[in-house]
Symmetry: C2
Subunit: 380 residues, 2 copies
Amino acid sequence: MAEALGSMARFTWDAQGVRIQWSDGRATEFASLWLRDNCPGDRDPGNGQRLVDIADVPATPRLRVVRIDDGALVVNWEGESREDRFALAWLDGQSRPRSERRPELAVRHWLDGAAIDARTFFAARTLAEIEHDGAARVDWLTRLAQDGLAFIHGVPARDRALLHAAALLGFVAETNYGLLFDVRSVAQPENLAYSDFGLGLHTDNPYRNPVPGFQALHVLVASPEGGDSLFADGFAIAEHLRATAPEAFDRLARTPVPFLYRSRDAELYSETPLIRLSATGAIEAVHYNNRSIAPLTLAGEELRTFYEAYRRFALLLREPRFQVRTRLGSGDLVVFDNQRTLHGRTAFSSARFPRHLQGCYLTRDSVLSRLAVLRRDLPQ
Amino acid sequence: MAEALGSMARFTWDAQGVRIQWSDGRATEFASLWLRDNCPGDRDPGNGQRLVDIADVPATPRLRVVRIDDGALVVNWEGESREDRFALAWLDGQSRPRSERRPELAVRHWLDGAAIDARTFFAARTLAEIEHDGAARVDWLTRLAQDGLAFIHGVPARDRALLHAAALLGFVAETNYGLLFDVRSVAQPENLAYSDFGLGLHTDNPYRNPVPGFQALHVLVASPEGGDSLFADGFAIAEHLRATAPEAFDRLARTPVPFLYRSRDAELYSETPLIRLSATGAIEAVHYNNRSIAPLTLAGEELRTFYEAYRRFALLLREPRFQVRTRLGSGDLVVFDNQRTLHGRTAFSSARFPRHLQGCYLTRDSVLSRLAVLRRDLPQ
């Protein structure tokens, strides 16, 4: 059975830090500087913001007395009269993986898309559940964050019903396409999405900065023939590339690619690698959109190796084994992480069957914030 | 005198590519694969989007015939019947630095802030000029992008007048603070910005993803005493750090820092380095906000060297020589790049003098798009 958070077996300390052995066997070192920078007494009691700048924190604070009192670690500092208290439960929490407190951070990759039945693999709830059942919404949002894809059914197939549903999830980001955009065939499409063309797997708007975080697509009129939806996990495919062709992976991660979108009322230009890594080498984003890659400024060997890697990635995206294929019906809403999950569609004939979706973008932070706030209200 | 774009002296070619010598002495290599990937005929004639995926482009296309015809390079390919035309002016444009076509990309650093008179150094226009004079707005937006800071005067000191001005510049991003937020002292501030406290140089909302691109602050009521505005160029200071303490710079660029903001209706968490580098090592963003740094998960030597670098950066930000100090009056609006320009204020006494600003965030892409679209309408 799990020990209660903050259950301590013993601790040792010297002037430079404290070492706590927890009852479950884990041990954590808390350096004196870390403790000093995180003193609860240096934070605003109301909003929790830190009141002290690092430049005003002693560079090498030394502990003078450390003791345990009423579930807290109490420390005094050399040459100072202040006393600071750290709740043991809080210290324990800090020493655990963040995904223990935030399960949405435990990303779940799905490489073998062809083996996935989208209707059962991903989170799917009715709009009524999302709207009225807090626990259902928390579960759905958590799985959206983990999987990068989730469905809501029963969203009325009416103009702008999408915006009502989206408001339950976060803030809609207004762009040159509007708060909401119509995905249906038009005569002179400003974007190829607004045509009968099939669209290969892609992410939206890499020419934009910021790139949209989440995308929501709501089916008003489904096409009975063609217009199937395709999805793939860009993170899983990128990791597959890293494992099988590390040089190609590095090339894509190290090459900024120019993306451009130009229309009557917008001109968007941004440079980003197709695979974006964090400062520690984790995959942070995947951006892939052959329609909007502008001419590269590379030459010689750099050009050759980039194109080789780019082609290799494109061929992986084409492999049916990596693709989830599903058919959305009227009233279905799909939400996906637009910096991870690629989407596409098969071609359709709007002359025979009209097809009409509405879409919008949601800011990433607002969706994750909504989840964290809703989670507070659940019984623990 | 500059030659006209596309003025060619001579060219040579083989199956792998074309080498053009321009009249002004420059020479450019166009690899056959680059040409093939950028064929104008493979783009939608209406919206300019590419119709072909890289997986469908030959991996090693070979040129069969290359000739010049009517200001265009005309190519045929081995084993294919197609012919493609590239305007020489377009090829020339592609071979020049992008900042020739987009002067807003030529970033101008300003390290020695104390020597700067903000009223003359940065772009400053009246709201009437911004609203009614296209050339003035283009100039102002270009300099905002180059310098990361610009002023508009004469914005009526009325509630929500900011949103009217902001709509001239781009799209406002809605956040948990609203479309617009009031910066004035309140009794229980959910953010320390809403107090009398002085605020050290910082960027806003590093706990948000995306971090706000541009920030606009409009003065409704200026304080005659205290509440001075401080600004510093985070890019210039970061480059100064790279030049004077490269190990500290690297440490900050390679360490993801957790940022957290928690209030009744929001919980925002994001990890980002204080100095964010592009895939090629250029400084892409600076994020600094001591109030919202959450406890680090580093330990040992990593913890020690991070804190050392962090403190060094904080001390640089404190140096008066790097700070522009200015006093904004009622009706003044300042806009700055929130991923580059740090801002702060001196303390003030709201009991003696009320002080009231309204602020909002603008998405980066919408501001730069507005600039590019307006520039099209200017006489060339």
